[in-house]
């Protein structure tokens, strides 16, 4: 850290610059096989700190969008991405084993486990929640949305929390899936 308080360590300096930038997504036209869907995503600019709420009917392609469209592109941008998957009860075993590999004892309660697993997230990390409200308490969802992270994208069937800044809907017509602004 130099005298003016600005970090001199390269990665810290990069991080402190990076996490102020907006996240630019799209425009994309992406085919995902299987299941043979084409995603048409408009150009979107999300300011730092955005909390995005994503809804859509059963089978519309929300999970495929998170895991096969969004996550790879965010990783390619060099972002650290924490995905809390729809099959969280299965993923919990991976989370517990990862905590053990860090030398930590895995909490029994699912809510505490997810919070402990997200602990190493950095200011420019991104959190993706896929129907996490099916397994986690509203209080934990709120805490996750409040984490000091660059962006949080949450998929859900349930009501939209007031702390979210943007709302998108995934709509599917046969094999074409597109993202609409607002419910």
């Amino acid at each position: 850290m130099n005298s003016s308080g600005q970090s001199t360590h390269p990665s810290l300096r990069e991080e402190s610059l990076q996490h102020e930038d907006p996240m630019l997504l799209g425009p994309w036209e992406i085919g995902v096989h299987p299941p043979g869907l084409t995603y048409r995503i408009p150009a979107i600019s999300l300011p730092y700190g955005s909390r995005v709420w994503l809804s859509g009917d059963n089978g519309a392609g929300k999970t495929v969008f998170l895991e096969r469209v969004l996550l790879p592109r965010l990783a390619a941008m060099g972002r650290q991405v924490f995905l809390v998957a729809q099959d969280l009860l299965l993923q919990a075993h991976v989370m517990a084993a990862v905590l053990a590999s860090r030398g930590q004892r895995a909490p029994r309660c699912l809510d505490d486990l997810v919070m402990a697993w997200c602990a190493p997230a950095r200011p420019n990390s991104i959190l993706l929640l896929d129907e996490a409200d099916r397994h986690l308490s509203p209080r934990t969802i709120h805490q996750l949305l409040e984490l000091p992270l660059a962006f949080v994208v949450a998929v859900s069937h349930q009501g939209r929390p007031c702390t979210t800044t943007h709302c998108f809907t995934i709509c599917r017509h046969e094999t074409l899936v597109h993202l609409e602004i607002g419910p």
Partner: protein, 172 residues
């Protein structure tokens, strides 16, 4: 944990991890991390089963690996795999009650026993013979070394999570 369900579980894990990561080999079939799963299964069953740990370890290691041979079309090797990996699983189960250096030594003995059983078995097998057994030796030694390293480390993770010591399903 219920020993029967745990043994069936580890039999399936050994079979699928053996099938899951496979690199074709010039001789017996494929280079795989199955040995890591066999060592891991033996250690878990040795650590979790107060009664007959060696038997459970042999069943999970032997049946799981033989099932993988059958499911992947190498059913010819299944009998020999049952013997070699069964012995490896049983000796790994014996390693569970030791700690630190002794556990590593026991696990290395377990995977070396697998290599020896395969060599002798294939040399005596009419359609493979000494020619096939010699071609097999080096890949098996590499698998044994990698398997020991990953299997013992993975067991250490499980110990740290505390799953094996939960008593709500008492080990029978």
């Amino acid at each position: 944990m219920n020993s029967r369900i745990l043994t069936l579980t580890l039999t399936v894990v050994v079979a699928l991890v053996t099938l899951f990561v496979r690199i074709p080999l010039p001789s017996r079939g494929y280079f795989n991390v199955g040995d890591a799963a066999v060592i891991f299964a033996g250690l878990v069953l040795g650590g979790a089963s107060p009664k007959h740990p060696l038997l459970w370890g042999a069943l999970a290691g032997g049946l799981g690996s033989a099932a993988a041979d059958i499911l992947s079309g190498f059913a010819l090797f299944a009998p020999l795999t049952l013997a070699a990996k069964g012995l490896e699983g049983a000796l790994a189960a014996a390693a569970a009650k030791h700690t630190a250096a002794l556990r590593w030594i026991w696990a290395a003995v377990a995977s070396s026993a697998m290599v020896i059983v395969y060599f002798v078995g294939e040399a005596l097998w009419p359609s493979i013979g000494l020619q096939g057994a010699l071609a097999e030796l080096l890949p098996n030694l590499l698998q044994a070394a990698g398997g020991t390293l990953i299997g013992v480390t993975a067991f250490g993770l499980v110990e740290r999570t505390g799953w094996l010591r939960d008593d709500d399903t008492a080990a029978r």
